[in-house]
Symmetry: C2
Subunit: 363 residues, 2 copies
Amino acid sequence: MDSVSDKSLEYWMHRALQLASLGEGRTSPNPLVGAVVLNKRGNLVGEGFHARAGAPHAEVGALEQAGKEAIDGTLIVTLEPCCHHGRTPPCTEMILASGLKRVVVALEDPDPRVSGSGLHRLMQEGIEVVTGVLQELAAEQNKSFLHRVSTGRPWGILKWGMSFDGRTALTNGVSKWITNETSRDWVHSLRGTVDAVIVGGGTVRTDDPLLTSRGKSTPEPIRVVFSRSLELPSNARVWDTSIARTLIAFPKETSEDLLESFPEGFEKLSLPSCEPIQLLLGLAKKDCNSVLWECGPRLASLAIKQGCIQELAIMMSPKLMGGVLAATPIAELGFTSMSEVIKLSRYELKAFDDDLLLRATLL
Amino acid sequence: MDSVSDKSLEYWMHRALQLASLGEGRTSPNPLVGAVVLNKRGNLVGEGFHARAGAPHAEVGALEQAGKEAIDGTLIVTLEPCCHHGRTPPCTEMILASGLKRVVVALEDPDPRVSGSGLHRLMQEGIEVVTGVLQELAAEQNKSFLHRVSTGRPWGILKWGMSFDGRTALTNGVSKWITNETSRDWVHSLRGTVDAVIVGGGTVRTDDPLLTSRGKSTPEPIRVVFSRSLELPSNARVWDTSIARTLIAFPKETSEDLLESFPEGFEKLSLPSCEPIQLLLGLAKKDCNSVLWECGPRLASLAIKQGCIQELAIMMSPKLMGGVLAATPIAELGFTSMSEVIKLSRYELKAFDDDLLLRATLL
């Protein structure tokens, strides 16, 4: 029997996943990765995680910490080690040089430049390879990265706050505040976990949001204003790019003249057409693995129709607002029978004081 | 020290409340009442509850069962015994005749014909009286009765089923089925606990509901169709009065000619004006302590505005329906700032398979 049992492998993989999570919100376009090195007696001798794109891979930190203790030891890593030269040298070569006896992996890397070749390379050189340990948890942790690699588009979360009767604003547009402070604080944290926060021009005009994590994450996510008309207030808070990047996305046919009235500092993204899916393709090229949609009902329904939303974060507050013309979370989806509506297969519930959070998956 | 301790009094009062609940949905306009008799050694010798209006009071059943064992014993009853001649003789006289030493009561009866005089009568005759044992639970159990006595109107529950994005129907009016079978089954049970179920004419035209408890309660609640125009389909399922009573409520200025086209069996209620509050005053006169509003958004918002709703039962199903013109739970309430909206101070959450039930109090 091995010095490190299967049960123990899961234990250490949990630790590696924990380490990986420390990079949340900062590694894109790379995945989150955590690694642990055990020496030949099964004792912990090294830990590492991928802290941000361009920084060393998780395996590097863990193996450097382990040094000679890695000889005949085990590397436990949440994602298949890379075998290609990217911004950093291939991890497989460092593993081979370290004298490790065994490599344990949760998930194969779907990146076409890796995708099994990393593990293959290790096995060829006589390293014992174990895969699939806590695979589901690892896939859940890297769902944004996996989604972007397989579809070419960032993982999309649609967030809204509403009253118990499903209203996101009063008839006159007022929406400050439907949800409580604890909920809003959580939304700031949520922003810290994504690469970009998207609003439409209407939200900038009506709510003038800041759209940052309030310093909970560095760097802040990119704030994306998606506007067909570019008719935006020149004094909006989102133009202050000293606290976070701001990107204005617009269809290429829109005249850029209006952009001149806004304070300097923003970036621009011209799109082939004014569609959510085009915006996402553009943001994927800007290294976004995940985006948070904080938009109004029309943009939300378009994003849903184009498959841009994978997850929902619904904050519900115990209030009744009513209003025949009051805003609702989602505009027209064109359904004519109940068999067509979108069923949410999985959701979780959480309480923020008297508010409720519903998190659901749209897949 | 007494043979029946304070702790024990609460124990037996819980039992009395349990007994009282057996009459749920059948005692109106009377309250729910349960009673327990302990002999002088503190042993249970009698139980009773008020089974329906016109049937004997809870104390009567319990004391008859106890017989001579009641001598020097204790009566534990959820509501103050009556001291007036109603449909049945006053319970105070029976208590005095029974030889009881002590009477323990949860709640004073707010009925102006009782309201402390029952207890006063007992004390005058040397009976030891203890009040306020589990008073809050007893008030909760009889909240409909207490509300009707203090306001002259039945307790109102507003129920709706909606998707996670707050829609109660698709744009074309289709709403079958938003919620799952377990939720709908619970709604049938809920109907069994109230005295009347109210819909507007629009609901009859669009949904053609049956509005019964599906036999979960006998008798079924009165089905109330509240219509200004009386333009109702002559073949609606609600006209089948072999399964439940049906009451058509309409303002007195509406011509009754159209009523002739409906099958026989329904009752009619002419109201001074077409307002929810007038309907409730009419239903209170018909012995209703509680009503369930299963109406559309316009009637719901009117009922809320006129203080006709004390409680909400919101069934939420994990679906997205969207729809710019799709129905929402509540129409215009006229709020222009968030400080005006209705805050729900208390709510409970329950899962029905994948649906969620939110029960909230509007007080």
